[in-house]
């Protein structure tokens, strides 16, 4: 849709597409459908050759005399889901129930700060990682029914988005820690670990259940966005 607006104003566009059914209907001037899971459009992480091959195919459409042009990128077959497995599909290991959530967060945080090569992409909540112990304690209290506010919540971010951003910061911190330790692991395997073998996975379910028990549809919806 954006491609059509830009093209109509005199720009030449090349679009990557994740949903072929949509591209067929929307008739973008030039599009390349990529057979990747959501979250990947140019190519898999650190796969420079694949990313470049997608871009080369995309730019090859520039020589077409007329449109719409829709090409399919042929990718190596990978055993991966189109979308991540969810909490309802992962069983929690008994051992995970013995882990202290706050201690687990602190260990992840300490390793993250020590990793020189990490991208500390944990800025959505704007909570300094040194305050993650307090953040984890507060989140755990909130999930168990004590809805007092977090002292470090930025004034311009409302409580529900703040909870979402804080959870996302922790989710990414955990996932990057795991990716660093086991770089060969697939996204699906990492997700099963996160949801089934960590105290964070148990916390996510507790927080979801607490939010979904609310009578307020907005709060219920927030629970659906935390885990399902």
């Amino acid at each position: 849709m954006i491609a059509r607006v830009l093209e109509g104003r005199g720009l030449t566009t090349v679009a990557l597409s994740l949903v072929r059914e949509h591209s067929v209907r929307i008739k973008a001037p030039r599009a390349v459908w990529v057979p990747f899971p959501f979250g990947i459009s140019v190519g898999h992480r650190n796969d420079v050759r694949e990313q470049r091959a997608v871009l080369d195919l995309a730019f090859s459409t520039l020589t077409a005399p007329d449109g719409p042009v829709l090409l399919d990128f042929v990718a190596a077959n990978r055993p991966e889901r189109a979308a991540p497995i969810q909490a309802s599909g992962v069983e929690v290991e008994a051992q995970a129930r013995t882990i202290d959530f706050v201690a687990e967060v602190e260990a992840m945080r300490d390793r993250m700060l020590q990793r020189a090569d990490a991208h500390p992409k944990i800025g959505l909540s704007r909570v300094d990682p040194k305050d993650f112990s307090a953040l984890a304690r507060w989140l755990a209290r909130y999930a168990s029914g004590d809805e007092s506010d977090f002292a470090g919540r930025p004034a311009d971010v409302e409580l529900l988005p703040f909870i979402r951003f804080a959870v996302e910061d922790l989710r990414v911190m955990y996932a990057l820690d795991r990716m660093h330790a086991r770089p060969e692991e697939s996204s699906d395997e990492r997700q099963v670990w996160l949801l089934g073998s960590t105290a964070f996975g148990i916390f996510l379910r507790t927080l979801r259940d607490h939010l979904e028990a609310s009578g307020d549809p907005k709060v219920k919806a927030a629970g659906f966005g935390i885990a399902r």
């Binding site: 954006i2 720009l11 140019v42 979308a83």
Partner: protein, 156 residues
């Protein structure tokens, strides 16, 4: 994505229920010059932005400008969803925002040059009218001001 038939039914129905414009024709602007002489910009719907920018919220029709000199590692992504794994993007932003690949293509002479300003929108929009009627035309004007020839659009 590996075609909709591999998604669970509820997710597939959700994706197919997204707003899609029914159209009969396609605007088509042939490039005036070869790619090796063209100025290229990224416009993404991955919801990435500078750390100091206001994060996107669901359905947010606004856009963020990203100077093309910004490294991918310096971007945040506030489009978060249980529908995709963001970890790959956090580890390698080129997964949806191919800034390193485009820089390599400029260095090789495949692409002429990069435009100074790139743009980012939030994905998974239900009401596309504000973007179609207001935001995307604004972005088009900025891109034309910058002398952009070719725009690469990337989703997440």
């Amino acid at each position: 994505m590996p075609s909709l038939d591999r998604l669970p039914e509820a997710a597939r129905a959700g994706i197919l229920s997204l707003a899609i414009e029914e159209v009969t024709s396609t605007p088509f602007h042939r490039p005036a010059k070869p790619l090796a002489q063209s100025r290229v910009a990224i416009v993404t719907t991955a919801g990435v932005h500078l750390p100091g920018d206001k994060p996107f919220v669901a359905g947010d029709p606004t856009y963020r400008m990203i100077p093309s000199a910004t490294d991918g590692a310096d971007l945040l992504q506030s489009h978060t969803s249980l529908g995709f794994d963001r970890t790959g993007i956090m580890a390698d932003p080129n997964v949806v925002y191919p800034i390193d690949r485009l820089r390599e293509m400029v260095a090789e002479g495949v692409i002429g040059e990069l435009a100074p300003r790139f743009y980012s929108f939030m994905g998974a929009q239900r009401d596309v009218a504000p973007i179609k009627n207001v935001m995307a035309p604004e972005v088009a004007a900025h891109l034309l001001e910058d002398g952009v020839d070719v725009v690469l659009l990337t989703p997440t």
